[in-house]
Amino acid sequence: MNAILRAQALGKKYGRREALTDCTLEIPPGHVVGLVGPNGAGKTTLLKIACGMLAPTSGRIEVLGEEPNGAPAHLAKVGYVAQETPTYASLTVADHLTLGARMNPRWDAKLASARVEQLGLDPKQKAGKLSGGQRAQLALTVAVAKRPELLILDEPVASLDPLARRGFLRHLMESVAENDTSAILSSHLVSDLERVCDYLVVLVTSRVHLAGETEVLLAQHYRLVCTRRAESDLPPGLDVIWAEHSDRQSTFVVRTEAELPTGDWSAEHLELEDLVLSYMERAAAPARRTTTPTGDAR
């Protein structure tokens, strides 16, 4: 099977502003991928390039083994749900399904109508009158019923209340399990994605800062708490992601692919959210990472 997404030094500029810089990724198939980063990090740009709606200004990208070029055969393989899960306000729920059937060769009408019934949506209801949660579910239903190999969802749950959020993610996971679909979904909140994603990409200020299988990432990172010391006093082989020093104590977030050496510190694994935040903080304040316990920037 082909990689879900393979990017090589991918970049996108809007005028002089870089929205995506030197992005290199290789995401194996069969994953639900969480694309995490603060607002404005470039998540939407990357997702739009991946579905062929935007052309990159540099580098190369392949999605499911092909360059996303808007060709019908490729479009049929990718289901895209844009930010704010747009639907046609003046069309009914049933109209959306008819439209989907006419526009998609692999449309699964049975699945679509079963889903609408299961969600308790009235087929005669205009989409404009649906609640935010129902609209999101309708958009997902249309994307899933075209039987794509890959679902791309841009901030699908950001505007939903917790109940609708849970309902949406259930529906998404059910579809993924049922059809062996891969998925990429973005969010600025790790907590939204923690349980549903098994692959994580952290994007900050237009660059990829971390990418990998969630379980592997969790196993490779530690929080070390010890008496106050400089980063350089830690054993070699530890990649220091984040450090904080108080008058007598130092706290480090480190990454190591080997086993953590024992030492005069307490070490524990981090939760996914803390792990991601330490990368985001490092990216947002690069000076902070290189502060020594004396406070001098190196």
């Binding site: 639900v32 993610l169 259930r170 529906h171 996971m173 059910e174 993924v176 399990a177 349980r195 549903v196």
Partner: protein
């Protein structure tokens, strides 16, 4: 059929939480030999987690010899923890109740009782090694 629930704050990996809940259901007699576990799709449609997490838990249950997958049909329990089932040990439970009454009378509160139990359990497990 049993339902799984996941605790995000427990610090225990989600797939291990599922394994633990199957073991517990076996001990409580909610599951026994021949019972079918919910399909991966059924589980993720209820608790909104990654399907691979459930598959991994089921593989672990197979490895532990508690369940077996029948391709195209589902995953089934193949061993009861019947001998260890709680119902079969009513006298032991009664002794524990009596002990709890004594512990409370001695002024121990629930966290204290819990800590003492966990400590003793750990010590006794280490002694047995």
């Amino acid at each position: 059929m049993i339902d799984f629930h996941l605790d995000a704050r427990s610090g225990v990996a989600p797939y291990l939480q599922i394994v633990g809940q199957v073991r517990q259901a076996l001990l409580l007699g909610l599951l026994s030999e021949g019972d079918k576990l919910p399909t991966v799709k059924e589980v993720v449609a209820k608790v909104a987690i990654n399907p691979n997490t459930v598959s991994k838990a089921y593989r672990e249950l197979e490895y532990l010899g508690l369940a077996a997958a029948k391709p195209g049909v589902g995953t089934f329990i193949i061993r009861s923890l019947g001998d260890a089932s709680l119902a079969a040990h009513a006298p032991l439970q009664q002794e524990l109740r009596t002990w709890l009454i004594k512990a409370r009378a001695a002024g121990l509160t629930e966290p204290g009782i819990d800590a003492m139990f966990q400590n003793t359990l750990r010590e006794s497990a280490e002694e047995e090694k």
